[in-house]
């Protein structure tokens, strides 16, 4: 049994030197242009890194933030991460009131020392020291100074002077000092719209930004990292978890990674080897083989993360995964790769940033980066990407988490740059086919089938798969929130992995769907897929617009009306076209009281100017209006 404990006794060594005299934190010193729209203002941040050698780096932060209200309270936490390779040398925190008087000096016993385990992780040996300030009044200023020393030089912290909305920045500096023996690269992003001063000397580089006004959050924007300035620093010579490394291009780094992290971890027991060979017996096509192996891994394993030491970088042995039946992304990817090796299918580790935001690996300079690993099968130029941590998705399915982004494929001979599969607007189809009938009391009897593919497959899978019937009942009622008094008689959900499609069959009835008023009845024509959400109004929009993924909805619904009513009004056919997509409705009469309602809504992926936001809202308003159309019947 493991019992890794790092005693926090070193805290007692911290000195408590008082700095308060040096600074003036009176809020009257903040320019008023920085206070408008600000929940907080960074008074100054001096962030410096000293890379003394390939094996030693110190990171010092001196920062003061004035917080104006509750919404700026994110700043009340000061946290410092550490582990067996990273020591906290110093930490001090002071709190000041609005006039700049010191009101508190944080004592050593007030720090909390906790494990850095998140939701998906069973165990990790990294720890965190933190302090949470309890604001007694606003505004207040929190000032802190921290210093850490680490052996790891593969992960040099990034300078990110504006990393939040509603935050003004009075001054932020970034200083990197380094040994002359090291080759250091600086990757500067998004400097164009900001006034960043750069001073480069031998072995010392300084960045500075001043007086940045707070930026308001707005809906449908690109990710922060793509808009705001930041600097990433990479050393060609590095040291990580006890291993020395050197690389000046991706090929070299990929080779180093392969040799030090991914080699010699692929042995599996003979019994498993025989089992998978038998599984693919008689099959020639490598993709067919890969599908069987993928299914085998999905059935055998599950995602559990344990991060200890080098295990944060190097996969757990394939033989351990074979025995335990679980592992993290590296472990499960390695296991799948090991089995594919056995059956003669070529595949490679692929490093990337996983997440809904399409975040690219930084290709400019080779460095160990990313937060996720998947598997690449070259397939003669038609790359297939395998997500090995999910037991449910079809072979080669990667939407919403690893799709459409720059990645590094690690081959034994070195790293290769690639981009993952993109799901087009038309791939992301939701097809709704159904029928409903209204009786003379306004009650609806409905039967509907929804089929979702592409990114929409993922949304439906996530929402419904594996849920208890009682939960499903509520989830379906939530989905059809436009219908009251629902009485559901059937819900069947099916993860159709063959077709990469999520299928739902639903039957229900509901009283008062048709609203009776006097001699008339109003019936909402679009029962199954009402799109009524409109992005929030933004007055004086400042940021560009991005719709990160497009989609297509097609609906075909047969509508049967009560016989003893006459149709007084039927909505007209519609076609709306815009650069954001299109919307159309066609209503066809089948017989005296039966109609076919055909609806199509397409929203395109794209990047637009800030002025386009209002136009996009108009497009959605128009859709909302037509989705709310009603049939009027009269007795």
């Amino acid at each position: 049994m493991k019992n890794l404990r790092i005693a926090p006794f070193f805290i007692l060594l911290f000195t408590n030197f008082i700095y308060s005299q040096e600074y003036n934190f009176n809020i009257s010193e903040i320019p008023s242009s920085l206070k408008k729209d600000a929940n907080s203002v960074i008074r100054f941040e001096n962030f410096s890194i000293n890379i003394e050698s390939q094996r030693k780096m110190t990171v010092t932060t001196k920062k003061a933030v004035t917080v104006f209200n509750k919404l700026g309270d994110k700043n009340k936490y000061v946290t410092v991460n550490y582990d067996s390779n990273t020591k906290i040398k110093d930490i001090k925190i002071l709190i000041f009131d609005a006039l700049g008087n010191e009101i508190k000096k944080v004592k050593n016993k007030e720090y909390k020392d906790v494990s850095q385990v998140d939701g998906g992780t069973l165990y990790a040996d990294s720890r965190m020291l933190y302090y949470e300030h309890v604001p007694t009044s606003y505004p207040y200023t929190i000032f802190y100074e921290t210093e850490i020393e680490t052996f790891n030089t593969a992960f040099i912290p990034r300078w990110y002077p504006i990393n939040n909305f509603f935050t003004g920045v009075q001054l932020s500096t970034f200083k990197i000092k380094h040994s002359a023996n090291l080759t250091i690269n600086f990757i500067e992003s998004n400097f164009t719209n900001f006034n960043v001063l750069v001073a480069k000397e031998k072995e010392l580089v300084t960045y500075k930004i001043e007086n940045v006004k707070p930026i308001r959050y707005e809906p449908l924007i690109p990710s922060l990292r793509k808009m705001f300035p930041n600097v990433k620093v990479v050393s060609n010579q590095f040291f990580v978890e006890g291993i020395l490394g050197e690389a000046s291009n991706w090929k070299e780094l990929g080779k180093w990674e392969y040799d030090n992290l991914y080699k010699n971890v692929s042995v599996v027991p003979t019994s498993t080897k025989e089992k998978v060979l038998k599984l693919v017996e008689g099959i020639e096509d490598p993709i067919e083989k890969a599908k069987l192996i993928y299914q085998y891994v999905q059935d055998k394993t599950r995602y559990i993360s344990v991060q200890v030491g080098i295990g944060g970088l190097r996969p757990m042995l394939a033989s351990d995964v074979d025995k335990l039946g679980y592992g993290d992304c590296k472990a499960l990817t390695n296991y799948t790769k090991s089995l594919l090796d056995i059956v003669g299918v070529e595949s490679y580790f692929t490093e990337l940033y996983g997440g809904f935001d399409k975040m690219d690996m930084d290709f400019k300079t080779p460095s160990i980066q990313g937060n996720h690993v998947i598997l690449n099968i070259p397939n003669e130029g038609n790359d297939i990407w395998l997500e090995c941590t999910n037991q449910k998705v079809p072979f080669g399915y990667i939407a919403n988490f690893t799709d459409d982004r720059d990645v590094i494929v690690v081959k034994p001979e070195g790293g290769v740059l690639k981009r993952t599969k993109k799901y087009s607007t038309k791939d992301n189809l939701q097809f709704t086919k159904g029928a409903f009938e209204i009786n003379e009391l306004g009650e609806i009897q409905a039967k509907v089938r929804i089929e979702a593919s592409g990114t929409q497959y993922n949304n439906h899978l996530f929402r419904y798969d594996g849920e208890h019937q009682k939960e499903l009942d509520l989830l379906v009622k939530k989905y059809f929130s436009n219908i009251n008094n629902m009485n559901i008689s059937k819900i069947e959900v099916n993860n159709n992995k063959e077709e990469a499609r999520y299928e739902e069959d639903i039957e229900f009835s509901a009283a008062n769907y048709g609203v009776l008023t006097n001699q008339q009845m109003l019936i909402s024509i679009n029962a199954f897929n009402k799109n009524t959400s409109i992005p929030k109004r933004v007055r004086d929009r400042k940021l560009p617009v991005e719709i990160s993924r497009g989609f297509l909805d097609i609906d075909e619904v047969v509508i049967k009306l009560p016989v003893n009513f006459k149709v007084e009004y039927l909505p007209q056919d519609v076609e709306v076209k815009s650069k954001f997509g299109m919307y159309s409705v066609v209503i066809k009469k089948i017989n005296s009281n039966t109609y076919l309602y055909k609806r199509k809504l397409q929203v395109n992926e794209g990047k637009y100017e800030k002025e386009d936001y209002e136009l996009y809202r108009d497009f959605r308003k128009n859709i909302k209006k037509h989705d709310n159309s009603k049939i009027v019947l009269i007795k």
Binding site: S115, S137, Q391
Partner: protein
């Protein structure tokens, strides 16, 4: 010997005649082959068998340890059930000792080619994690888990404290069979608390045993005399309770439940008395009075309230300005709110203590509200602490110390009791934060006497909305809105919006009201706690009503209409808890476009819930080109019985149907 009284519940004994073998390691093929849980096909996993035995072990020179042995056999039916393969065992450490987990053994069973394959949990895959100063966790996840796997684990938890973990019978998955026993030597008296809806029944018997006891003796007349030790064989009696349950259904969360943990069937044990041989009985808790007294004395309520030097200057300023009792109360209440901020910790013991908290301006619930009690007393008012259990902490059905986790202040005035909680900035007298609205609390006086007080809000949470709407022939609506928020509605409005710019409130409102465009927004009483919250604004909307041919259709309550029900479950298992009574009133004055006449308006209605638990009144009248609507919704109860759930559903159905009904206007020909 004192007998622990048992509450007996109706018994459903099921005689299981199956040939199941419930020994560790003897998993059957049938269990591995089972595809779904027979009594609940949508269960992702099920506890096939759980055994839990708690007993006391005597260790010479150390005393009694509580030993709890757990053995679990669990079936995993599908991937959703995989989470049940991870186990976390909490254990407690303090300077007085440590709890230990020993003898952990765990195996996963799978069926491969009709053969049972075992995979053992390796010690290196078990992790210990320190959660905080007192609590640690041992964590592991089972190896080789597949759909259909059966897992087993067993371990012993050894506690030098007299801590007995809850005996839990009900989980988020069904339990096929569970046996539990708790054996307690006659010296130790525990208070038992039963909770949940699923009945369980205890069989009790008395057993005798003997232990080799090391006795320490000292001559009481001479404190300098040496203690002498001697070994004595002692016979003692133990009380053994055994439980056998089978087929316990899974417990699934529902909306508007105060706390689902209140309904999970379990028995809690609290150490209450020590009857050590030849020593006076030591009481830890007994009746509500005893419990209250124990808390009051052991947790130093009296001495914390007594401290007053730290605030006397500030208090003098307040008292100089206040004339009446209620001015004093509000002055002091606001002083405490301003001086000491809540660090989000609950508790009926001090965090910083009243004095320190006042100096550092930070404290827990105890530090803050005892300062409040202290100052009110100093000001000559009759103030006392009231201890309670928060909603998240559940309801205590039996007197136990653990049943309380929060304290507020109460002032006794001739016109009644005033309850105060200074941890929440926007709370006012008798409008307590929602977390405290959990039935009853206990008021403790400094002579140790105590009494039950109701925490239920006296005044309903209220909203009053007045709308003036003009419609034009294009179907555009324009108008003014004025909304007042009262009591708990005002509190929650401030909690949500006080920190937000008015511009951002407008954006949120526009979204909430279905895409209105709002202008001239004004808000009064946003932060002025003792004034009502009042919103006024103008609105404009193009698409919210239907113009169809020569007719116009609209819901006369417009965006204020209730169109969905919070009660969507077909059947409900647990009572509904609203936290507070409520009332919401909407008055609408509509002017129709020129050239149109009113063809029809919905009929007025008046409906009531049984026992006048709630009511809804909808009244509509017309005169010329003006329509007036008056809609009033009331919930008059805090707890609504589950037996009347269908009526509640029907109540909402009628309200929604009425709210959706349309006014029809027709063009004059």
């Amino acid at each position: 010997m004192k007998k622990v009284l048992l509450i007996l519940f109706v018994v459903f004994t099921t005689s299981t005649l199956s040939s199941q073998n419930y020994k560790f390691g003897e998993v059957s093929k049938e269990e591995l082959q089972e595809k779904v849980y027979p009594l609940d096909s949508s269960a992702n996993a099920a506890i096939l068998y759980k055994e839990r035995k708690t007993s006391f072990e005597y260790v010479p020179n150390e005393g009694f340890n509580v030993i709890t042995q757990v053995f679990l056999r669990l079936k995993i039916y599908n991937k959703e059930g995989f989470d049940w393969a991870t186990n976390k065992i909490s254990y407690y450490n303090s300077s007085n000792g440590r709890e230990k987990i020993s003898g952990l053994k765990a195996i996963t069973y799978n069926l491969e080619k009709n053969k049972i394959v075992e995979t053992k949990l390796n010690r290196k895959d078990v992790f210990d994690e320190e959660l905080n100063k007192y609590w640690s966790q041992q964590k592991f996840t089972m190896p080789n888990i597949k759909e259909g796997s059966v897992i087993e684990w067993r371990y012993k938890l050894i506690s030098p404290f007299k801590r007995i973990d809850d005996v839990q019978f009900q989980y988020g998955i069904p339990v096929k069979k569970m046996n539990a026993s708790v054996e307690i030597p006659e010296y130790f008296i525990y208070k038992k608390q039963f909770k949940g809806y699923y009945p369980v029944f205890a069989k009790t018997e008395t057993k005798s045993r003997s232990i080799n006891f090391t006795e320490k003796e000292r001559d009481v007349r001479d404190i300098n005399s040496r203690a002498t030790f001697s070994n004595v064989k002692i016979d003692l009696l133990s009380n053994l309770e055994t439980y056998e349950v089978s087929n316990v259904p899974a417990l699934i969360e529902e909306a508007y439940v105060n706390n689902i943990e209140n309904y999970k069937t379990a028995i809690q044990y609290e150490y209450s008395e020590l009857h050590w041989p030849r020593q006076p009985i030591k009481y830890y808790s007994h009746s509500w009075e005893d419990v209250t007294k124990t808390i009051y004395n052991n947790y130093n309520f009296g001495s914390e309230i007594y401290k007053s030097n730290h605030y006397s200057d500030d208090l003098a300023v307040i008292l100089a300005a206040a004339k009446t009792d209620s001015e004093k109360i509000i002055g002091i209440f606001e002083l405490v709110k301003q001086k000491v901020k809540w660090n989000k910790y609950n508790g009926i013991t001090k965090f910083n203590g009243t004095r320190q908290a006042y100096k550092e301006a930070v404290g827990n619930v105890f530090d803050i509200n005892l300062n409040l009690v202290s100052m009110l007393n100093k000001a000559g008012l009759k103030a006392n602490p009231v201890i309670l259990s928060t909603r998240a902490h559940g309801i205590s059905f039996f007197p136990t110390i653990d049943g309380f986790n929060y304290v507020i202040a109460a002032v006794e005035l001739p016109e009644g009791l005033v309850l105060l909680d200074a941890t929440e900035q926007y709370s006012t007298p008798n409008i307590l934060p929602f977390r405290t609205l959990n039935g009853e609390g206990r008021l403790i006086r400094d002579d140790g006497s105590s009494e039950t007080v109701s925490l239920n809000p006296v005044k309903p949470a209220g909203i009053v909305t007045v709308l003036k709407v003009e419609i034009d022939e294009e179907g555009t609506i324009e108008g003014q809105n004025r909304t007042n928020y009262l009591n708990h509605q005002a509190l929650s409005y401030r909690e949500k919006y006080a920190a937000i710019d008015n511009d951002d409130i407008v954006v949120k409102l526009e979204e909430k009201k279905g895409g209105l465009e709002i202008s001239d927004f004004e808000l009064s009483g946003k932060k002025e706690t003792y004034k009502p919250v009042m919103e006024t604004y103008k609105f404009y909307s193009e698409n919210s009503i239907d113009v169809v041919g020569d007719k116009i259709f609209f819901k006369p309550l417009f965006f204020e209409a209730t169109t969905t029900s919070p009660f969507k479950l077909k059947k409900r298992e647990y009572p509904i808890n609203f936290g507070t009574t409520s009332s919401s009133k909407t008055l609408v004055n509509i002017t129709i476009p020129e050239g149109y006449v009113i063809e029809s308006v919905p009929e007025s209605i008046n409906v009531k819930l049984p026992n006048n638990y709630g009511s809804y009144r909808y009244h509509i009248s017309t005169s010329g080109n003006v329509i007036n609507v008056n809609s009033q919704f009331k919930i008059n109860t805090i707890n609504y019985p589950v037996v009347n759930y269908d009526e509640m559903k029907e109540f909402y159905k009628m309200i929604i149907a009425k709210n959706l009904e349309q006014v029809v206007l027709k063009k004059e020909s």
